[in-house]
Subunit: 788 residues, 2 copies
């Protein structure tokens, strides 16, 4: 799905999608009634009818029926298939080309756009069959039309069994994020579905149900027309129906008015995270009406022919969480299933399937023999706090430190582990925390060499140049060639100084493998991190006392905590970022992509040797941490579905386009099969962002360096553009950010986030190659506009 | 729904519910096939058929059809209505009594129970019409049968439009937590729904679809029988069908085997929150297969005639979160809607409808004119950290303290604010945190007088006796009578000593209004807390310097933070617990019940005067806190739905039974209308736990005191039972807990949690009076058994 085709909302054109609870429920009769009712609503307005896909003989098509009874109506059928079967089957059988979903949506947009600028008023878009009847491509209509997210009018089923089909059809629309504004239904005296459904929808969902008598039975074509004429005349006189246009119109107006007022209301009501409100005027607040795949549908006023909702690429992957696409129906269904099966259930001394199955899947997926235990919490910060409590507790127990002895962590400069006090305390003082009450960095932090592409070459800070990023990540080869010896010496020197001279006591090594995220999107030399872990593990006597590991899975020196909250679960292309270093941590923290980008959940995985440190007969020796919604079933079920999907994507070589397209001059992947691609992916670094873009960027004036890995692209801007400030307070990347936000006619716009002088972009796991390339074009254009 | 009627699962009896995608899809033909297929599956087994509700002439009933083709089959119809319409309508029209949902479920349990002990094998329970066709009471079947949570066999619809109705019916089952194990479908050569649905269900949901040819058209009764005989013979010979019994049987076995092995697997895989694993043997782990309303369905082996899944009252309200019932379809739908509309979208400098609408609803609902701003985070701990950062920042800004000056909080002894380090630091040292790495209490904590019922009298510690709890909570009356003067004097003395003599610096007052929860379920004299706030607000010169408030909404003395994470959102019967004190805090933290008990979400509400303290041109002065899933749409939408529901319940006097039943000798509420009840509720304290129980408990040997408020009952046990330990390490309440966990034949069992010597019980907002009374009987019985 192209992200240019966003949701459809015009100020002057009220557009509705007419859905049927089943086939043969009277959609066309009700569409005719709706067209007739609205035709006279306001003097300057017109009503139009669109049938995107119609099957069955053309002379019986719904559009024809309506035109017959409303002469002069602007009515169109986009795709007509003669066979009276489901459109996907009719399309297969017919000699016509099957239109893609995108093509269908595009034509609807075009039709609406033409009307909006020439014939404001009403447009009813009638679907074919039931809500899940497949469209021409085979996608069911509820999914096919979702990105338009038109307000829905549901035609209920008056027949025997129709209560059920009406409610189920409604639920299928609802779980895809549609708003049903009206239910229409024939009155059948025998089955009386309307007497049940009217209070049902009114009370449970505040949706009005309007009914009309059954139309006359079909007799002969000539009789039918006059019978139906009479029927429509009678129906239109019903007081219940006459209120429909004003009901729909007031909802339409209210929706736009709300969207318009939201920035103002938000600026008075919301206290935004990580935001200096002094500068946050309402015009800077993006109103997100809904979202689909990799884009937001944002409210933007413009020309009447344009939809008020414009697609905007979610370039921060919604703060690094997004993976399987916004509005993903599989995740929606997984969430609802767990809610329906459990709600949330207590997780102390109890177990439920989603939590246990997810724990097992994580332990297997990590491929780290040390990790055997899963502790659940709610977000990256709490997951890190749990990890640190585990590590420090294990170290204290082994080394026998007294309770009053303060123990800190060894970390990296520029790290960031979260916003709760305990997580903040894991990082050195800096602009993020210097004014935070109760922050007190507890530990010592080592500098680490960065990696980035500069003028076409991959430069490791203080460590030479490489042809490809893959060469940098060949940590075993580099280690064998002795490239880690300098690191080892320097690390030992620093640690000995910290412990020996400064008398510091450490209980954990904590680091974000491969990329320091919130601290500034620094790609770190993986060989440095690998060496750091090695040195720490070889130095038990430095931190406590000599200790012979119980087995190869026992921690040594210090428990090693990897904060993979940002870097793990395929963000960088692999299940675990630790695999880039070839290092198995003792504790590993995961969040963000864990639920595919739907809702908060975190896990802290730990080794059995760490776990055993907390065993005793005294409850107060236990890890006394837990949140009320620990291992909430909804989160666990969604995570299960997400991990399963991503692991399947990896296995089936779904990212082959990215892997094979980005390797400059590397013929190995050019014509690889999907299994080959999967195998190659496993052994190498790759990104959805093209090598060409990275190379091009690395030569640009104002760009100090750039890197891309997995779904992340980070552009480190310099001060060449004349901008000021350093570090987090820098505004160097703001020009590019502003340029990306400005919508282009063809390529839409891009929402991005800036960290000081770094502008980064992030895709989801399901973002298409086409979307990425479009964003790449905008980046090039934006950089030329923004700094040129 | 009675909680005794839990989910149905027998080891020796495979029970399936046969659902139709619509009416007239061949449910009975497929039931016949299923019965025939399984009849010969194992030599010692039998197959039975149950039609709980049938409509239409008895001679055409589905059970008759099956018996005709499978002579000797154990087949039964529970309720037969002659009119061939939806059961709810047929029941209305008929002269019969309409059976309640409970009655229907009970009879199914009885039928299955009889079979399980006498005729193991198979049982197929066929529904009527479509999945949402209403049962006799009007509840749609998908909801009516949910508490049995039988594995489902869905009969798809082979007709035109049947792809849609089949998928929608499936989704309606799925979002209620049903497991569909098989889809069966006729092959229609024209519409070929099976060619679409087979890969659809296989690929998306790993559910097999099996098909058979269409049955012969109905001609005459005599022909029909012989035609159908031939048809069944042919169908049963199809290789695709012959695999069905082993498919179903292996799923049945696998399900039981998994349930059985889960404690063992969990004990090796999960690191439980707040748990000393040393004592956690697998037999102590409760396996929760699913949950409904106020109970868990837990796996418990027993006699063959009993379901392996037994209902267990969720007496901790799943760690204080539960409100609107487990498996609540409205919350499930709300979650799925937001997932379908948004997924999660970035919340910095952006806004979406659920977050904004929830913020507005909270600000209104709180009825506190000070609170104007809503900050979102993920759980109570993070919400408290945010609140404390806000308060301390505001105080520092106003009083001009330098960055290096350490500032603490004033709190209450026995308080507990969460498990992250910053939240822990708000409480004084104690057993929960004394061994927690990096914990360092930052502040000073005052003792507060407790309230409880002892020997029929409400005793305020050191403050006299009261006839009713309502008298204790008449804070304005008591204040007028001068009862607060002692408190005021003592509070001033302590504060002056802390600041003047000990030189401490404070930046916030933080307290849990009314009840100190995790610290030990202490009900605190509301007059004391009211007085404490008053003294703090009157003493700016004590904490900083004299300050004339800018307006009546400005904070004074110290920003007052109320941690309502546990006590708010109707846990104690009111939207906000602050209203019991008649005090408006400057900052208020909410979580737990906020989402009705479904998933994590927290809000920290703040006044504009606190908010303005963070405004500047410098980003680093902002509140630099935020989590990736801040204001996640799913949580906000579920919270909106929950709050709306609870506010509606309050308004319509839904808790009238509790309000009117508990007031001892108070005639005012006996015959009150619902509006009167709502008005009374607003002005008074009440509980779902009966006054009789509280009174009875207060006289028991071994009970030191007891209190009940809103949905909470807390029993403070003494050492009379001969048990040892003090405070959190006490095991005094363990005897009662164990007695409650032991299932009673009639009343089921109760899961409860113990805090030291306190056993508490907590209900949800939708827990029925009947459930409460049953639990009360168990409490009485348990106390007599446990300590007698």
């Amino acid at each position: 799905m192209s992200s240019q085709l966003g949701a459809l909302l015009h100020r002057s054109l009220r557009v509705y999608q007419v859905w049927g609870a089943n086939t043969e429920v009277g959609k066309t009769v009700f569409s005719t009634i709706l067209c007739k009712l609205t035709s006279g609503y306001k003097p300057d307005e017109k009503t139009a009818f669109l049938k995107p896909v119609s099957t069955g003989p053309a002379e019986e098509a719904d559009g024809r029926h309506i035109s017959k009874f409303i002469p002069g109506l602007d009515s169109q059928t986009l795709y007509q298939f003669d066979l009276p079967v489901s459109p996907h089957l009719a399309a297969q059988v017919s000699q016509q080309n099957t239109p893609s979903d995108e093509e269908v949506l595009c034509k609807i947009h075009e039709f609406a756009s033409r009307l909006a600028s020439t014939h404001p008023g009403w447009l009813f878009v009638e679907t074919a069959g039931g809500v899940h009847s497949p469209g021409p491509s085979g996608t069911t209509q509820a999914d096919l039309y979702r990105s338009l997210r038109l307000p829905a009018i549901l035609i209920g089923d008056a027949k025997l069994g129709g209560i059920s089909s009406t409610i189920s059809a409604f639920e299928s629309l609802k779980i895809r994020g549609y708003d049903v504004e009206l239910v229409l239904l024939f009155e059948d005296k025998t089955y009386q579905n309307h007497s049940y459904l009217t209070p049902y929808f009114q009370e449970k969902h505040s949706i009005p149900v309007q009914t009309v008598p059954l139309p006359p039975p079909r007799l002969s074509p000539s009789n039918d027309v006059s019978n139906m004429q009479t029927y429509y005349t009678t129906a239109l006189g019903l007081p219940s129906l006459s209120a429909i246009p004003s009901h729909l119109s007031s909802l339409h107006q209210a929706r736009i008015a709300r969207l318009q007022s939201m920035p103002e209301t938000a600026s008075k009501t919301i206290w935004y995270p990580f935001t200096q409100h002094q500068q946050l005027t309402p015009d800077k607040i993006t109103v997100i009406d809904s979202a689909k795949d990799s884009h937001f549908d944002t409210f933007q006023s413009g020309s009447p022919s344009k939809s008020l909702l414009r697609p905007m690429f979610d370039g921060s992957a919604s703060w690094w969480t997004q993976g399987l696409g916004h509005g993903n129906p599989a995740l929606s269904l997984a969430a609802a299933y767990a809610a329906g099966r459990y709600g949330h259930v207590m997780f102390a001394e109890a177990v439920h399937e989603p939590a246990l199955a997810l724990a097992e899947m994580l332990i297997t997926g990590m491929g780290n023999k040390r990790l055997k235990r899963v502790f659940y919490s709610d977000n990256g910060s709490t997951g890190v706090e749990v990890g640190v409590k585990m590590a420090l507790g294990a170290a204290r127990a082994r080394y026998g430190w007294a309770g009053e002895e303060k123990v800190g962590v060894i970390g990296l400069k520029g790290s960031y582990h979260g916003d709760t006090i305990g997580a903040m305390d894991c990082s050195e003082p800096g602009v993020f925390n210097e004014k935070v009450e109760w922050y007190e960095g507890k530990g010592a932090w080592l500098g680490s060499p960065g990696v980035r592409c500069e003028k076409g070459v991959w430069v490791v800070e203080g460590g030479g140049e490489f042809k490809t990023l893959g060469d940098v990540f060949d940590v075993e080869g580099r280690e064998k060639r002795g490239e880690g010896r300098g690191y080892e010496k320097e690390i030992r020197r620093v640690l000995e100084k910290l412990v020996g001279e400064e008398g510091k006591k450490f209980g954990a090594l904590i680091l974000e493998p491969v990329v320091l995220g919130a601290g500034g999107m620094h790609l770190v030399d993986p060989l440095f991190q690998r060496t750091l872990v090695k040195v720490v593990r070889q130095s038990p006597e430095l931190f406590g006392r000599k200790h012979q590991p119980n087995d190869e899975l026992d921690w040594s020196g210090l428990p090693v905590v990897f904060d993979e909250v940002f870097t793990g679960i395929y963000r960088l292309g692999r299940f675990s970022a630790a695999s880039f270093l070839g290092v198995d941590p003792d504790i590993s923290v995961h969040a963000k992509l864990l639920t595919g980008g739907l809702l908060p959940l975190s896990v802290t995985l730990a080794s059995e040797s760490v776990f055993r440190s907390f065993l005793s007969d005294d409850k107060s020796d236990a890890l006394l941490h837990g949140h009320s919604y620990t291992a909430h079933a909804v989160g666990c079920q969604v995570a299960l579905e997400s991990l399963k999907t991503m692991m399947k994507m990896e296995k089936s070589g779904e990212w082959g386009w990215a892997i094979s397209s980005q390797q400059k001059g590397d013929d190995q992947t050019k014509h690889a099969s999907s299994e080959q691609v999967a195998a190659i992916a496993d052994s190498r670094v790759w990104s959805v962002w093209s090598h060409e873009l990275v190379e091009w960027l690395s030569w640009q004036k104002g760009v100090e360096g750039v890197w891309a890995l997995g779904t992340v692209l980070a552009i480190h801007m310099g001060s060449a553009g004349g901008v000021v400030g350093v570090g987090y307070k820098s505004t160097a990347a703001k020009g590019l950010q502003a340029a990306l936000l400005k919508a282009s006619e063809d390529d839409g716009s891009v929402h991005s986030r800036v960290l000081g002088n770094v502008l980064y972009l992030m895709a989801g796991q399901t973002t298409t190659e086409e979307s990425i390339r479009r964003v790449e074009r905008l980046v090039k254009q934006g950089l030329e506009d923004g700094t040129g």
